[in-house]
């Protein structure tokens, strides 16, 4: 018993060191655990990663807008798939976050053909639109992330036409409202023509710009003019056409 007490008394300092070592080990392991946890979370939820996906989405939108502008100005509808495939090839070369792979699926239904929809010369609203679904897959160094998104680029033109017949002339007022993705948008150019005796004749009239995507165009045409044609380009160079009977 006395020996045990002597042993305890002699070993109390060593126990202190052992206890200190255990405490040091606990402090180190806890700190390293928290550090690793932060590091892991920092990678997968890094704001830069979210911004990276957002930036690719922005670039994809630009590709679609450019392709729609091309197709609406007389290009082939296939330009959309060609440009998107080209862009996907470029995205594959990025490796800031890992191996990137962008897949796209062009929307197809009764109005969309190869992801593009043109509805011109209808009664009220005329549309040039493009729609596609995308899947961005990033095989990162630590994780695999998939970001699905859809892009819709649409220019629509709502217009109405009225006229007053005075002698051998018709005073025509055309009101246009231009939208980009259902938001009011400014026009880059508006060209007005009328049809007379089977010929289309370009005419310049008075245009009032309300600076909110609304335009009032006043023209005077011969009384035999049968139709008025509006050719409108928005600020993105996307073309849309409207036709009104007089």
């Amino acid at each position: 018993m006395r020996k045990l007490n002597t042993f305890r008394a002699n070993s109390s300092g060593q126990l202190l060191i052992v206890a200190a070592l255990i405490i040091a080990l606990m402090i180190s392991s806890t700190t390293i655990y928290v550090y690793e946890l932060d590091k892991g979370a920092g990678y997968s939820n890094s704001p830069t990663f979210a911004d990276f996906a957002l930036s690719l989405k922005q670039s994809t939108r630009n590709v679609m807008i450019g392709a729609l502008a091309n197709a609406s100005n007389g290009g082939y509808r296939t330009v959309l798939s060609e440009n998107l495939n080209h862009f996907s090839d470029l995205v594959r070369r990025l490796n800031q976050f890992g191996v990137c792979n962008l897949t796209c699926s062009l929307f197809e239904d009764s109005v969309y053909d190869l992801g593009i929809w043109f509805s011109w010369n209808s009664s009220d609203v005329d549309v040039s639109g493009a729609y596609a679904d995308f899947g961005l897959m990033i095989d990162g160094f630590a994780s695999r992330v998939s970001v699905p998104y859809a892009i819709n680029a649409t220019t629509s033109l709502a217009s109405n036409c009225s006229y007053v017949l005075e002698g051998t002339e018709k005073h025509v007022n055309v009101t246009c409202r231009l939208y980009n993705e259902e938001e009011p948008a400014l026009a880059k150019s508006i060209v007005v023509s009328y049809e007379s005796a089977g010929n289309w004749i370009q005419i310049s009239g008075t245009t009032i710009d309300y600076d909110n995507g609304t335009y009032l165009i006043s023209i005077t045409v011969p009384s035999d003019a049968a139709q008025v044609l509006l050719n409108v380009w928005d600020s993105r160079d996307i073309f849309v056409q409207a036709k009104h009977a007089l």
Binding site: I17, A20, T48, S55, G66, L90
Partner: protein, 140 residues
């Protein structure tokens, strides 16, 4: 002799124990890399956000198409927060440098330089893509 020195030995042991615990704190405090990475990530994030903002109306691609390097430099100067140095380089798809002028607002005074890569697709009727490398640093 042993009994006489026992008190001193225990003090030495206690000091050693305290040293062990403090060394644990000292070792774990030497993990600032995560904070630095986070700060660099923040700067990269700012750079990417600015490029996305400039590209949101297609002006970034348009200025690259038209080789408006001065306009690009001024746009970045305005869009980035004060106190940040930048150096932008634009490459074509074959990674040939396209900017013939330096797009920068001065030298980097900081050792912490963040890097941002961005693919810019211009909205022209013919598709043109650029790879933009933007380096940012906090001005000291």
């Amino acid at each position: 002799m042993r009994n006489e020195n026992a008190g001193q030995i225990r003090i030495i042991e206690a000091v050693f124990a305290v040293f062990v615990i403090f060394s644990a704190f000292a070792v774990t405090a030497n993990l600032p890399a995560a904070q630095n990475t986070s700060r660099t990530n923040d700067l990269s994030s700012v750079g990417l956000q600015v490029l996305v903002k400039l590209d949101s109306d297609g002006s970034l691609g348009r200025n690259l198409d038209q080789e408006n390097w001065t306009v690009l430099r001024e746009s970045l100067n305005l869009a980035l927060p004060a106190g940040i140095s930048f150096n932008m380089t634009a490459y074509d798809e074959q990674m040939h440098e396209v900017n013939t002028a330096v797009i920068s607002n001065g030298g980097f005074g900081s050792q912490e330089v963040s890097f941002t890569e961005y693919i810019c697709a211009s909205r022209g009727l013919t598709l043109k893509c650029y790879v933009i490398h933007l380096c940012l640093a906090v001005t000291q």
